[in-house]
């Protein structure tokens, strides 16, 4: 029975989000700092180094970590204020059980009760419906060690095939495209290569807001004279400075990149020697774009043809170049094709395996890169191994000490798990660090599915909107409460250090899984004393896989400020740059072109829904906002979702900035204030997705999936935009400086 015990409003009043705005004791507490801990920011795949200041077993502030090479002290606003997630009034401190008769909707219970009930429900559902009827949804904010443990726990303790993770909403399109083209799933370059590029294409990546630290790498390239090309439906803060701006229509990326390949071929801006020596499939890829002329693409994409030609010229004639892509091209029903279209551009011009050359995804989530390598994904085993490959299964079984048949087969993906719950095929769910009610498309559908669960247990540190549906809530650990490793956007494995202990009765996540495994009678597979044990086992399980960590130790990672995989044996220096010498990871050592022809997105505009909707993030919020919607300064920076709309469209709709608009798709409708800006296409509106309930942009988005990566099409929906009847306008004037003038408090200034 997984319906919320109380109304959403009642649960929010009790469990938040409430806002933490000052360190423990207030700004002038003058606490004596007991220790300063070198670690990393918990938000986003950049994994900036940061020092956390600790007093009385509480994180009370931060200090820039100048000596960490990736960010050299730099932080975005989320990093600056990340310490305020600690000592938070909303922190879950004891196990809870759903109880509609309790004033809070949940009653505190003992750990024994919470775990025993969970185990009993896992057994009941397994006995009645089979082990695959109980699913596990995980998150890639978790360390490598936890990701590895959860993969093993799902397979050996739950015995379910149906484990997947919210990385499914992140970079799986990039991973799938890279694997099939290059034989491996990792950004091929250290970020120190970016300043060495003579041309940089930023493809569907809002770098300034979603990977802010990458901005300085791009500036350093431009300081050397590099040209910047940005393709985005919006003039993002980085796009503002571009040499060439390709303001394309949402969902037309493969037409744009196919057309650029067309122009490269037409002008012979190709590296024939490289294509011949190191790739397969060029002719098919070239044939696929034979009719993708810039004039044709100009119509499809809504971008002037001369800009497409200029972008191709810059890419094709520059000695070095990097293409950075992110969710803009990946969050589509053609996500894998879009990425392959970009990889084709790198291969056609030989821009791989050299300083300043590569096509890289900017992984979004904190451990987006590492989380997917350690067997935490429905189709993978540790070391980025394939769960359907008999040799891979046999190797992992040998490390785990289990019979190979004990490892279930390939399960279904995150969105498919929710659909299977909706269909009644999956009856039970355990989730950790995943808030699908905000982050999955078609919120109404997700809510219906959660309501149907027979049993739902959640491990988390705050009660997310999804956790409102839980039968049992197990208080887990925050990033700063546990140690382990994560693997960054660069493929660099770095060390996370614990700063404080979990408060109250909260426990370390790995300890909860170990305890559950013991109670499920599978304790013999989970006989470890701490996360360093887990790391060592994980490295052994990765040995020989493409993501090979076998040569790493925690000590080395700390001493060397991180190690890039593959690092196959002790003493191996790690591999910052992949594909040097034109060596790719396929058995023949060659990369593969894929023939990519443009096709329409799953939903296209029509008379009823004539406007394109695209969604994304703002710099002050992280993903579903479970953490960042609880930090006052970050909330104040961008308090609620706004609908960005071009003045031409706004005039048609009859609204000005601050007027409320109702945006309606085939899935539902939300009403939010309009923000009229000239920096978005007139045929497109943008709404960021970090909020739940009646502010959830994902109420509008489409559950259409990429056929290979199974990523949902967040970036392209058809909507109608109308002035909201009877709704008062609100002031959404950018408060950046006005709120600082005259000493007004932020609240008063709004």
């Amino acid at each position: 029975m997984a319906q919320p015990p109380l109304s959403e409003q009642q649960l929010i009043e009790r469990y938040g989000p409430h806002l933490n705005q000052a360190p423990p004791g207030g700004w002038d507490a003058g606490l004596k700092i007991d220790k300063v801990v070198d670690t990393h920011c918990c938000f986003c795949g950049q994994q900036c180094g940061i020092k956390l200041k600790v007093a009385n077993n509480q994180v009370v502030g931060f200090e820039p970590r100048y000596e960490f090479p990736f960010n050299q002290g730099k932080l975005c606003p989320k990093g600056v204020k990340r310490y305020l997630q600690g000592n938070h009034p909303d922190r879950l401190l004891e196990p809870l059980e759903r109880d509609p008769s309790a004033a809070a909707g949940f009653r505190p219970v003992t750990w024994d009760h919470a775990l025993d009930r969970t185990v009993a429900e896992i057994r009941r559902i397994g006995d009645q419906f089979g082990p695959d009827a109980f699913a596990l949804l995980s998150g890639v904010s978790l360390t490598n060690e936890k990701s590895y443990l959860i993969g093993k726990f799902a397979r050996l303790a739950l015995g379910t095939a149906n484990l997947d993770y919210n990385g499914r909403l992140c970079m799986v399109s990039a991973g799938a495209a890279s694997k099939r083209a290059l034989g491996v799933d990792r950004a091929p370059n250290p970020w120190s290569d970016i300043p060495l590029a003579d041309v940089i294409i930023v493809a569907g990546a809002n770098v300034a807001e979603c990977a802010p630290i990458t901005t300085s790498y791009i500036w350093r390239a431009r300081d050397r004279g590099a040209k910047l090309i940005v393709a985005d439906p919006r003039v993002t803060p980085l796009a503002r400075t571009a040499d060439v701006f390709l303001g394309l229509r949402p969902g037309t990326d493969s037409a744009l990149y196919g057309s650029i390949l067309h122009v490269l071929i037409e002008n012979d801006w190709l590296d024939h020697a490289y294509i011949d020596a190191h790739t397969n499939g060029f002719d098919e890829a070239a044939a696929a774009v034979a009719d993708h002329t810039p004039q044709w693409a100009s119509e499809v994409c809504g971008v002037p043809a001369d800009r497409i030609i200029e972008a191709a010229r810059l890419w094709g004639t520059s000695a070095t170049g990097m293409l950075l892509h992110a969710r803009g091209i990946e969050h589509q029903s053609k996500g894998v094709e879009n990425v392959n279209a970009c990889i084709n551009l790198g291969l056609a011009t030989g821009k791989y395996g050299r300083p300043g050359c590569g096509v890289c995804t900017i992984t979004g989530q904190g451990n987006g890169q590492g989380g997917r390598e350690q067997g935490h994904k429905c189709d993978q085993l540790p070391g980025n191994r394939d769960i359907t490959n008999p040799e891979h299964r046999a190797f992992v079984a040998s490390v785990w000490g289990c019979d190979v048949d004990e490892i279930p087969g390939k399960g279904i993906t995150a969105q498919e798990i929710v659909e299977a719950i909706h269909d009644g095929e999956i009856k039970g769910l355990l989730s950790i660090c995943f808030n699908p009610l905000v982050s999955l498309p078609d919120t109404t559908f997700t809510r219906e599915a959660l309501d149907k669960l027979e049993y739902y247990a959640v491990i988390d540190f705050f009660l997310s909107e999804t956790a409102h549906h839980a039968d049992i809530v197990l208080p887990g650990s925050l990033h700063e409460e546990d140690e382990g490793t994560v693997t960054t956007v660069e493929g660099r494995c770095v060390k996370i250090n614990a700063a404080v202990d979990p408060p109250g009765q909260a426990r370390l996540d790995w300890d909860i899984f170990r305890d559950l495994a013991h109670r499920l009678g599978k304790g013999h597979y989970f006989d470890f004393d701490g996360t360093e044990d887990l790391f060592d086992e994980m490295c052994r399980a990765s040995a020989g896989g493409s993501a090979d960590y076998a040569g790493m130790t925690w000590d080395r990672i700390v001493d060397e400020q991180g190690i890039f995989w593959p690092c196959p044996e002790p003493g191996h220096p790690g591999t910052p740059r992949l594909f040097e010498g034109g060596k790719f990871f396929h058995p023949d050592g060659k990369a593969k072109f894929f023939p990519i022809r443009y096709r329409d997105p799953a939903e296209v505009v029509d008379d009823d829904y004539p406007i394109w909707l695209t969604t994304g993030r703002v710099v002050s919020q992280y993903l579903s906002g479970t953490q960042t919607r609880r930090i006052a300064q970050l909330v104040d920076q961008y308090p609620e979702p706004l609908c960005e709309i071009h003045p031409r469209l706004a005039a048609t709709v009859g609204v000005e900035s601050g007027d409320r608009v109702t945006v309606t798709s085939r899935r539902g409708a939300i009403t939010v204030p309009a923000k009229v800006v000239e920096t978005i296409r007139p045929d497109t509106v943008f709404i960021p997705y970090h909020w739940p309930g009646d502010k959830a942009a994902n109420t509008l988005t489409n559950r259409a999936l990429d056929p290979i990566s199974k990523i949902p099409e967040y970036k392209v929906s058809a909507v109608r935009v109308e002035k909201a009847a009877g709704e008062a306008a609100v002031s959404i004037t950018d408060t950046r400086d006005t709120r600082l003038h005259d000493g007004e408090t932020p609240e008063a200034a709004r």
Binding site: G61, P64, C76, T236, P237, G247, T679
Partner: protein, 202 residues
Amino acid sequence: MIGGQMFVIDQSRCIGCEACVHACEECGTHRGTSLIHLEQIDPGVSTQTAPMVCMHCEDPTCAKVCPADAIKQNEAGVVQSALEPRCIGCSNCVLACPFGVPRYFPEPDQMMKCDMCYDRTSQGLAPMCASVCPSEALWYGTAEQFAERRPGQLINDFKFGNQNVRTHVATVVNDRNQGPLDLATMTVRERWQDDPFGLGAG
């Protein structure tokens, strides 16, 4: 210059992320109060934003117009917040500063402004805002480090109508011999920015 290090501001690189705004609040001398400014240049038209720290003028206008003699420079040239016992809250400084930096706070009835994180810079550490700025729009280091890292020349002469102002904080230009910067007349735009989506073409 504090111990050979200097502050450089290059607003053209700003991405508007507000890391500086939040980091300023962490400064040890005014904890909980952010004093840096971050302006939207042309809201609704451009995503251009610009941070503004105190430029720490050699001959600060704010101090000259203060009727209470409350605004002092320290030995390193850092122009400080108004001395609380002296400040009468008249806001002359707020109106007079050519860069729009000082701000009057009704509570505690005092002008407060950027003091270049003197608690940090006096110890050889970069100010909070320049430490965290992801785009190096705010930067702190020696002139030699700047020259190694970035193109452009540093300039600290500004012109506001008939008033020439020389500052301790520098900004970046292509040619420092061009004379004092007249900020009111400057515009730099890529041509595509007049029509980002090519609407005029069709």
